[in-house]
């Protein structure tokens, strides 16, 4: 049987062009169907879902990592902004404190200067008052001495003592000139 089949095999050296030999078609189609269906089942049920799953998992992982990186970047940006805000706040506060201190010190020194000046002015006025009083006293003494002197001189000259009133009037009159 086997040898029979062998010799009958279509397309011995002198047979038809082998691809057109219809006697081989049935067997080729049967095995094409078997192998093609097998490959289709292997691919669609086993291999392709596996590859697709891996590729999807990888894409998901990359997307997740990117999202996490984005989150971290945002956090660090926020931290930087907070730090910068703290820095500007601190600077502003320092400036405020410095300005306040300067103002207070200026006011204090101004007040002190004013107090000092007031004290000096008071003493000056007092001194001037004393000088004036002394001057007044001196002037009073001068006129007293002058009256006495005038009375003495007049007494010496005319031998008669003028009245106090007359002498005083004369002296005052003389001093006015």
């Amino acid at each position: 049987m086997a040898t029979n089949a062998h010799t009958e095999v279509p397309g011995g050296p002198k047979g038809a062009f082998p691809p057109f030999n219809a006697a081989t078609f049935a067997s080729q189609l049967v095995w094409l169907a078997i192998t093609f269906v097998f490959l289709y089942v292997m691919m669609s049920k086993v291999a392709l879902p596996r590859v697709g799953g891996i590729i999807e998992a990888r894409a998901k992982r990359v997307a997740d990592d990117l999202a996490a990186a984005e989150k971290f970047r945002k956090e660090s940006d926020d931290a930087l902004a907070a730090y910068e805000k703290a820095l500007t706040d601190a600077r502003a506060r320092a400036q405020a404190i410095a300005g306040e201190t300067r103002d207070r010190q200026t006011a204090e020194s101004e007040a002190q200067r004013k107090r000092l000046e007031d004290g000096l002015n008071a003493r000056l006025a007092e001194a001037e008052k004393t000088i004036a009083a002394n001057k007044q006293a001196a002037m009073t003494n001068v006129s007293g001495i002058a009256v006495e002197t005038a009375k003495a001189i007049v007494t010496q000259l005319i031998g008669a003592a003028p009245t106090d009133k007359a002498a005083e009037a004369a002296v005052a009159d003389a001093l006015k000139r």
């Binding site: 086997a2 095999v9 082998p18 049935a26 080729q28 189609l29 049967v30 094409l32 292997m42 086993v46």
Partner: protein, 257 residues
């Protein structure tokens, strides 16, 4: 006869189908295991083994085999998506991937000397092309109903040439499986024939004395160059077959031009 066959200079010899098992029959159906069956089983087995074992680690950072498997996936996935959209991916991605992988495995395995190439048989390529053709018709009709026939009626064509365009569209639609099948089959068949012819020149000339031995360098060089070209063709024809499949399947989903 077998030993004789191995050194045959007949370029047609490589396309002969020889049984390697006792005749097997499923009822009236002849299912004898032949060299064609062997290489279909081998190609499909290798392809399945590779796609499954390469993804076994399922690593987030892929190894070499996994990179290749993922590249194949992405390559076909992108192709289906570009040609037939997201809906095409959902419906037809495993089908297109299987077609591509089947043809690619058969073509590449056929590049080994003495190996049989199943895609050099018109009945194989025609069956796959008809599979695509009938899928287009069935899916197109079930999904779009009578709107599917808008495929033959391009919009924006004046009525007086429309009837002519419709005839051309119908002819082009029904000639698709023919061109689809023959493109792959003829490329593989012609490539293997030319390789065999050029390779056959080498021993033929080498037996013709000293001049022949020196002269045989020329066909030897040609054979090497053609071999490289055939590797390209082996990949390219699998790619073209899958790409055309995507374009045809897109018509089933979106028949309006």
């Amino acid at each position: 006869m077998k030993g004789e066959a191995l050194v045959s200079n007949d370029p047609i010899h490589q396309f002969h189908i020889n049984p390697i098992s006792e005749p097997i029959h499923f009822g009236a159906l002849d299912a004898t295991f032949t060299n064609a069956s062997l290489f279909m089983v081998a190609g499909v087995g290798l392809a399945s083994w590779f796609m499954v074992s390469a993804m076994k680690p399922g690593a987030l950072v892929p190894g070499r085999a996994q990179v290749i498997a993922e590249s194949a996936y992405n390559f076909i996935h992108g192709m289906v998506k570009d040609a037939a959209g997201e809906e095409g991916v959902k419906k037809f991605f495993p089908f297109v991937f299987t077609l591509f992988l089947f043809i690619f495995a058969a073509n590449m395995l056929g590049m080994f000397p003495y190996f049989f190439t199943p895609t050099s048989q018109i009945v194989i390529t025609a069956t796959m092309a008809l599979m695509v053709f009938f899928t287009v018709i069935v899916v197109g009709l079930t999904k779009n109903g009578l709107k599917f026939f808008k495929l033959f009626v391009p919009s924006g064509v004046p009525w007086y040439i429309l009837w002519f365009v419709v005839i051309i569209e119908i002819i082009s639609f029904f000639s698709r499986p023919l061109s689809h099948a023959v493109r792959l089959w003829a490329n593989i068949l012609a490539g293997h024939l030319v390789l065999k012819v050029f390779a056959g020149f080498v021993p033929m000339m080498a037996t013709a004395g000293i001049v022949g031995i020196v002269g045989s360098i020329l066909p030897l060089g040609m054979t090497v160059a053609l071999y490289a070209l055939e590797f390209l063709v082996a990949f390219l024809q699998a790619y073209v077959f899958a790409l055309l499949t995507c374009i045809y399947l897109n018509d089933a989903l979106h028949p309006g031009h």
